[in-house]
Symmetry: C2
Subunit: 261 residues, 2 copies
């Protein structure tokens, strides 16, 4: 029986790159009541470390490719530096956080992306989430903090999109909880006009989503993001919200809620 | 009631620096029956990354000091690269490992080493081990893999000696289990003569330990290591063994066992 709500919150570079923004967000996150999970992206630190090590980013057709050295850098930065920094800060704010990659307790198994036009190297597409173990943590009032590194159960770590991890974890946990997926990004929500930062479309259902694409209001970058949100909803996630860092504050009421109907 | 034996195994640079040695050891470790915990040190990778980033190692009186940049590097390498690599390999060998720093689930709280003659920077001395949570993992047949990073519960990560982590974890867990602490290093055991690699002293009790120091047989570097072992024994650890990578093999019978009496 699902009787509890589990909140999954994903943060990206705009918060991770700014120490004040990160601290402020984590304080709010620590105050969130009920079971919760944090998923974080990478930010610019991996690029900084790569550059400091004299490595050239590998690009094919303008898209970043994860070669072996690059995988080492993102594993160091995402699973090491950022994940442990976030975990230590949450511990400071009395949130009993545990930092995890997909390899830890076999939490997220992925496979190396199948080569079609482009070989993306060690990029992983998610197969399964170990919801049983994640639930052991949640039941023990521990807050999982996932970085964007998974593994293939054959000894290989893989670089995986953080939005996808948030979505897949939410879908897997929706068998046990009412899950609410929250994407925190640089805007207050999906905007009607990009130049007006307050023009938030507060409710978008599937029909409206298709209409907004047709009208050209939802821009290119937002389409895959929203597409993933609707997949999550179709696969059992109860609610998806998109907004800025104040999304998780009780006082906030400006954000976009996505729903099927 | 303590009715089960928990094995804690610590590995250091001599295994971590050599991919073949690491793979071979982890295969053996995965086969070990019963509850177990792995603790790993750093090896030369942190130095390699530091050098690649153009950082100078900071030394005071010939001893390495962990400054802020250095702490970032060891957090990346120990908690990120090595910890996740080891975890992913153990998963491949069907050992359900979880990589942990001391910040994760508040596993190991330490304090910044108090400045006396030398300021060691972000070096941490262990205060408490969260044996309750470690036991939740062990009870769920999950194998904790600790790196040498702890935290102070005030948001600060700290670089901590891996031998000490192994010893403190063993002591804390000895309230719940018969704990056996195994130090894997480059020799087959404590040697009677350093030039004869097979001259292993198979049994050392406290009286013999003091006698060996007096006779000058135990060399300078081994004294703090063995000192820690005897502290562990005095604080409740059942058995301490020292040997090379074959220490954990059933077929091995050449190693040093330490005991109080």
């Amino acid at each position: 029986m699902k009787n509890k709500t589990l909140q999954i919150i994903k943060i990206g570079g705009n918060i991770i790159n700014d120490d004040n923004a990160l601290t402020s967000f984590l304080k709010d996150f620590a105050l969130l009541e009920g079971p919760k999970i944090l998923v974080h992206g990478g930010g610019k630190k991996a690029t900084e470390v790569s550059e400091a090590m004299g490595l050239e980013p590998k690009m094919i057709d303008g898209r970043r490719v994860t070669d072996e050295v690059n995988l080492e850098v993102v594993t160091m930065v995402y699973a090491g530096l950022l994940n442990k920094k976030i975990t230590a800060l949450l511990q400071q704010y009395n949130c009993n956080a545990i930092g995890l990659s997909g390899a830890d307790a076999n939490c997220i198994v992925a496979h190396k992306r199948i080569v079609e036009d482009v070989d993306f190297g060690f990029a992983g597409d998610v197969d399964t989430v170990n919801s049983e173990f994640v639930n052991v943590l949640v039941q023990n009032k521990i807050t999982p903090v996932f970085c964007a590194i998974t593994h293939d159960k054959k000894g290989q770590l893989l670089n995986t999109n953080a939005d996808t991890i948030a979505s897949e974890v939410s879908i897997a946990m929706s068998e046990l909880y009412n899950t609410e997926l929250n994407y925190v990004f640089e805007f207050k929500g999906v905007l009607l006009a990009i130049e007006d930062k307050n023009s938030v479309i507060t409710e978008i259902n599937l029909a409206k989503y298709e209409q907004l694409i047709e009208q050209g209001i939802i821009s290119e970058g937002m389409i895959p993001k929203l597409h993933n949100c609707f997949i999550a909803l179709k696969k059992g996630v109860q609610k998806v919200k998109i907004g800025d860092a104040s999304l998780i504050k009780k006082t906030n009421n400006l954000y976009t809620t996505l729903s099927l109907k």
